[in-house]
Amino acid sequence: MKIAVIVFPGSNCDHDAYSVLKGIRRMEVNFVWHKATDLNRYEAILIPGGFSYGDYLRAGSIAKFSPIMTSVIDKAKRGYPVLGICNGFQVLVESGLLPGALITNRNLKFLSRPVSLVTRTTDSVFTRNLNKGEKLVMPIAHRQGNFTADEETLKEIRDDDRIVFTYGSELGGNPNGSVLNIAGILNKERNVLGMMPHPERAADPLLGSTDGLKIFESLAGNS
């Protein structure tokens, strides 16, 4: 699988994602600069964490106007997998590929710590290797990760089984005040996943957890 890691000028988890993807069997990874527009040769897209354009206004709100995002939206509409992590999730929401909004954490502060996740659906290319209810541990690092949406949207994503991960009760529980403890959601077509926690930071036993690898292995189609 050829996967593109999109690089905005303020991306800072691009290299982390790249180095993990590079180690995944049957995965071929390249960086794609935000001023580029051609994603034709890629079969999957990853939008990494960071501060795309500084995010002084609202996380991800400027990124949606960048040249590359037109191509990313096009890829998503054509059914290719798109994974947004942290700032990538924020960009996907701002771009309209995912519903809802990510507002400032309940305690109004940046939060950096490990969280416990519960896998809610295995019906996606990102989680097909996982088991329903499977618990994962990985870090979060964000100020605006408090997911919220109107009642109708929430009902829809719940009824459609589009909540992928929720924060579990261990390790301090829901860190940021997200509604329904949501940590990651899918679009209606199930090919776009946005998640606040960082699977690429949980992909090495030296760093304490390899749970994140399961998501990338799923995506690559490895068993």
Binding site: P9, G10, H15, F110, R113, P139, L207
Partner: protein, 740 residues
């Protein structure tokens, strides 16, 4: 033509120069300086840029040897070899005065400045730390400062994507009104990509890159070189404003540039902006620079040469390249949407020539401006402080022993200096870049070097109270303890950087403290073979109520050849033996216990035998390398009881400890006394003999004092018997609830 005020002695005095210095300037120039020239001299000869009151003593610190490639003072930060063709650059700097009046921007730009110091050398920053000292947490103003300083450090470092992996947060009344905000950054560079801050080759073009220049921070360096006063609040315009996104762009663009063979030199603009970078780069290359100041991109109209030369606008660099590569340079900065403007060229006159609207407004020999050149150097009078004799007397007879040691332990775990700082570091992204093997909260942080088996251990240490009570010994301990922390995490100490925070150097008692502390640090650095790569001196840390505790902060870096030897401080398995490596001789002088429980800052601090200390560290290091150490924790603030309690509460659920041993000490000395050269480790029973063999080899005593249990209780002799839960609550929840 721009009209400037006429320069007289009184103008010079207003600029913070002395009469002698003003006369010296007139001699150098052979005439009266212009107003622009006066401004340039005043910032370059300020304490902040010239180190005029400290440099003679700083030269007594070991600044070469060990693994040092480039020594202190030669570059923005020293370079230390770590093998595999790699070197590390690291440095710690203060941003105390700006943070005292504008904590968010003060702290944020402190981070920005230290990061630029590192990447201007071609090194990619991979980790940072902060050492923060505030007045009492009981006061609203101090909580306000803490809140916003932490937010400033967090926002800047998080946006840049550099993990903040460690540091310390300390509270003492003496920092009231003058907090100490010291930030540390460490970067890695391939030897061949290291860049020098030099200008060479007459005719080579000089560029300013990065942000536009505004009026922010004019005279920031001078502001840092006087005491804070009631009027300081009105000097907010002296505080720079940070833009971490632009810094991130500048970081990436600069690192691309560093790989180019046509780059001659680069220096970041911190204190004294264009003035400092242009004069230092020129002096270093034995040349001069001709600048057309009108070319500098600016944020607001109407700025004159004086303002442009002195502005401390952030996120800027001065770059000198080989003539003929201008387009290649532009291409790099265009990619990152940054300004890149040619503002002059290198000349062979040795003069810093500044033209404004066609008129020559400054013509100064660059060498006369800089440290090591014409900048003044002073020997200041030093006198032993009168407070020392009175304070060193500690009447033990008059000190009642507590009734309830459980209660004392809980109180100490709640003490702001000991209690866990999760509230602070959970705001710092500590895991970005996926190298953080040990994050904040341990003895030292451990960050691996991708592509190698290696890792670096690092910590900051600055116990101002110790130095206040005994400056020489306090200086020694600052280095020794930092090394011990690094060793506990598995690192072999290789070098230090230091930030020396003191009061007004013109006060002989302050200067004596400074002199003694530097001497003490130098002694231990020599013994440990950990040279000083550089750092920073911050004088004039005084508020209306007096000088701060003399506070040298050490940033120690250690090397792990094998990252899997990274060692943490929490207990691992029930049944493990708890052992003291070294000597357990707690004394109460200057301890956290004495301050918190008896409300006294008094007494002789624990002595240090450096030769013994080294052997203790070697035993621990050797045992870690052999893989027999399950946990290691330096005995420090709060003494043995706090040390053991910390290793329990950080361990998994159910872990406890039972200690049973005797000493000819008072019970409070035994439990809460602080001492040097003692490391508490836990090991499996089977490895006892191996540890004994190693300790005999180095002739260091070791003693089993207890065992790790599965009871979830801490029991020490007949004195302490307490559940984990109240200890956890005291340790983990205090700061959060105090800041709520």
């Amino acid at each position: 033509m721009e009209h400037y005020p006429k320069v007289t002695l009184s103008t010079a005095l207003e600029h913070g120069l002395s009469e002698v210095e003003y006369q010296r300037i007139r001699e150098i120039l052979g005439r009266d300086p212009s107003y622009v020239e006066l401004g340039i001299f005043s910032v370059m000869w300020s304490e902040h840029c010239s180190y005029k009151s400290s440099i003679k003593l700083l030269k007594t610190l070991p600044r070469e040897g060990g693994r040092l490639l480039v020594g202190a003072g030669e570059e923005n930060a020293g370079l230390v070899d770590i093998g595999d063709g790699l070197a590390v650059a690291f440095k710690i700097e203060s941003h105390n005065h700006p943070s005292a009046i504008e904590p968010y921007q003060g702290a944020a730009t402190g981070v920005g400045g230290i990061m630029r110091d590192i990447f201007t050398m071609g090194a990619r920053p991979i980790a940072s730390m902060d050492s923060l000292h505030f007045g009492s947490l009981d006061k609203g103003r101090n909580r306000f400062l803490l809140e916003h300083v932490v937010e400033g450090v967090a926002d800047y470092g998080n946006c840049l994507g550099i993990p903040t992996v460690g540091g310390e947060t300390i509270f003492e009344d003496s920092y009231e009104g003058n907090p100490l905000i010291n930030v540390f950054s460490l970067g890695v560079v391939k030897h061949e990509h290291a860049v020098s801050a030099v200008a060479k080759g007459p005719g080579n073009p000089v560029f300013i890159v990065g942000s536009k220049t505004g009026r922010d921070g004019i005279h920031g360096a001078t502001f840092a070189s006087v005491e804070l006063s009631e009027e300081s609040e009105s000097r907010k315009s002296n505080v720079q404003v940070g833009d971490p996104f632009t810094e991130k762009l500048l970081l990436e663009a600069s690192l691309e540039l560093c790989k180019k063979s046509w780059l001659i030199g680069m220096q970041d603009m911190g204190a004294a902006g264009i003035t400092c970078s242009s004069s230092e780069m020129s002096a270093k290359g034995h040349c001069g620079m001709t600048l057309n100041i009108d070319k500098v991109p600016r944020r607001e109209p109407g700025m004159n040469a004086y303002e442009l030369m002195l502005s401390e606008s952030q996120e800027r660099m001065l770059v000198v390249i080989l003539k003929g590569f201008e387009e290649e340079l532009q291409a790099i900065f265009n990619k990152w949407d940054l300004n890149c403007t040619r503002i002059g060229e290198v000349n062979d006159t040795g003069l810093l020539e500044v033209y404004e609207k066609g008129t020559l407004v400054s013509e100064i020999p660059a060498l006369e401006l800089v440290l090591g050149g014409g900048a003044p150097q002073y020997d200041l009078p030093a006198a032993e402080p009168v407070y020392l004799k009175a304070l060193n007397d500690l009447d033990m007879e008059a000190l009642p022993e507590p009734q309830d040691y459980n209660e004392v332990l809980v109180t100490l775990l709640k003490s702001p200096n000991i209690t866990n700082k999760h509230w602070v570091y959970s705001q710092y992204d500590s895991t970005v870049r996926t190298n953080t093997v040990q994050g904040p909260g341990g003895d030292a942080a451990v960050v691996r070097i991708k592509g190698t088996q290696k890792a670096l251990a690092m910590c900051t240490d600055g116990n101002g109270r110790y130095v206040y009570l005994n400056p020489r010994l306090g200086g020694q301990i600052a280095v020794a303890e930092a090394a011990r922390n690094v060793v506990c995490s598995g690192g072999d100490p290789i070098a230090i950087t230091n930030c020396l925070n003191f009061g007004n150097p013109n006060d002989p008692e302050v200067y004596w403290q400074f002199k003694e502390a530097v001497t003490g640090m130098a002694e231990v650095c020599r013994s440990l073979n950990t040279p000083v790569t550089g750092g920073n001196v911050s004088f004039y840390n005084e508020s209306p109520t007096g000088a701060v505790y003399p506070t040298p902060v050490v940033g120690m870096v250690g090397l792990l050849e094998d990252v899997t030897r990274s060692t943490t401080f929490e207990y691992k398995s029930p049944g493990d033996f708890i052992i003291v490596i070294g000597a357990l001789n707690g004394t109460l002088g200057g301890t956290e216990y004495l301050k918190v429980i008896h409300d006294q800052v008094q007494g002789n601090i624990s002595p240090l035998n450096i030769e013994f200390e080294m052997r203790v560290q070697e035993v621990c290091m050797e045992a870690i390398k052999k893989g027999i150490i399950r946990s290691a924790h330096d005995l420090s603030d709060g003494g043995l009881a706090v040390n053991v309690a910390e290793s329990i509460v950080a361990a998994r659920k159910g872990i406890g400890a039972k200690l049973d041993f005797a000493r000819k000490l008072r019970n409070d000395e035994l439990l809460f006394g602080e001492c040097q050269s003692a490391i508490i480790v836990s090991i499996a029973e089977d490895d006892l003999i191996n540890l004994v063999i190693i300790s005999q080899e180095f002739d260091v005593p070791t003693q089993t004092i207890g065992r790790v249990t599965d009871t979830g209780r801490l029991v020490i002799n007949e004195l302490i018997d307490i559940e984990r839960e109240p200890l956890e609550k005291a340790y983990y929840e205090t700061l959060k609830s105090r800041m709520a």
